[in-house]
Symmetry: C2
Subunit: 263 residues, 2 copies
């Protein structure tokens, strides 16, 4: 039973900004489920507004139902808008692209971006799913997550996104220890060439991570001064953001923040 | 198979702005599915980020995954933002609340609202599902929809929302004929006491309705002059909106628009 629902819902993961419309055969191929079954699953999801098929087109896309669900959630729990304010502050202060992500089930989803207005900047796609092991945001989320969550994330195949990506779970676990002590993570071209990211976790009411805020810049622009300025700004914004969303940083994170000296 | 997926997805419909968090027992009671099965369905939906359970709370709410899906859809097909612009124009011009809705599967979901700034005004909830038979928006959507869509909508139990709601499918069908000729629908307190709504359809690329735009005002403020002004403004905005979203109004609607005389 559950596996059928899981298979159907997994189909939603294939839709992204770079691939907003996908056909039946392609969805069957990627999910490894036979075409007839995928077709029935898609029909049910269209019926419930999660997907839609426009006109005579043979392609499926996300339906207006997802807009409704997002409105309901955002009206009741305005997290996106609170994040956006922090991201705008961060990108204005640092002059680089800031982005925010939230844990959505097993994934970490980008839910807000504020791009710097410099010609050379890091561009992010809204709605993108961030790998846990190769991004600074993923690493701060893992560092403060429950062991089951970490085990599951590191138990999946870890893709080498660049030549610098660490894919050995033992080395990643050692790094997570370090991130717990510092309160932030850095990703020096481990997810994308020439992109340097620094991230900080934001928390839920129960002290587990809700997501992360991060600043991403072209790696060649990184200096010691910029690095400390960015970490300092992230600590300040994470504090405000936790307050705004009612998040409670655990003692470990508060200790890390207290240890940080901006000079 | 499909019915399990359908049951699971139906659980999402219970979440609304007025009820953003719901417990397991309540979801089981409303869906008529046993608690153990609902629990498994909820676990799968949490796993995929459509729902989430915060901290030690026993309540479920919509997950951050819906924010991701909405971003992906809106970035690829920016319909919400185009609607919002039209709604803001309408409410500024008429001085009453304007709202927009999109067909999401079998339902009609409010995806945008622009409230008038008058002390006495109609308030709408973002994310609300509009009944087809008792709202002006529902009636314009049905009037231009394929027969199967109308049969299914009118085949469901039709709730008398006020003492003025028409619940007889035959009378509703006769009214739909009239709406096809005029191009707009009016709901004089048929969905809510003292609320008068006027709506117009917007179309998809294939000429079927994508949704509706509407103006809603306190019924006691309605005058013949305001009525004609509203309809005229709706025709103008529907035209711009169809252009903006690439919608193609069918010949019947274009004929209705040509017949309308604003004086």
């Amino acid at each position: 039973m559950s596996s059928t629902v899981a298979k159907a819902l997994s189909l939603l993961n294939y839709f992204s900004e770079s691939e907003p419309e996908i056909g039946l055969s392609e969805l069957a191929r990627r999910s490894g489920v036979d075409k007839a079954t995928v077709h029935r699953m898609l029909a049910v999801m269209c019926d419930h507004g999660l997907l839609e098929k426009r006109g005579d087109a043979r392609l499926y896309r996300l339906g207006a139902g997802v807009l409704r669900l997002a409105r309901v959630r955002e009206t009741a729990f305005p997290v996106s808008s609170v994040f956006q304010h922090s991201l705008d502050t961060l990108s204005a202060e640092i002059g680089e692209t800031a982005h925010g992500s939230l844990i959505a089930g097993r994934a970490l989803a980008t839910i807000g971006v504020s791009e710097s207005n410099r010609g050379s900047r890091v561009s992010l796609v809204a709605g993108e799913i961030l790998p846990m092991h190769s991004t600074a945001s993923g690493m701060v989320v893992l560092a403060f997550s429950r062991p089951e969550f970490v085990d599951r994330a590191l138990g999946e195949p870890l893709v080498a996104k660049t030549s610098r990506t660490v894919t050995d779970p033992n080395i990643i676990r050692a790094r997570l220890q370090e991130v717990r002590l510092t309160g932030y993570a850095e990703a020096d071209q481990t997810n994308e060439d020439d992109v340097y990211g620094i991230a900080m976790p934001v928390f839920d009411t129960d002290g587990t991570p809700a997501g992360a805020i991060a600043v991403a810049m072209p790696a060649h622009r990184m200096t010691n001064e910029l690095r400390r300025h960015t970490i300092s700004a992230l600590f300040a914004e994470a504090d405000k953001l936790n307050f705004g969303i009612g998040g409670r940083p655990p003692a470990e994170f508060r200790a890390a923040a207290a240890r940080f000296s901006p000079t």
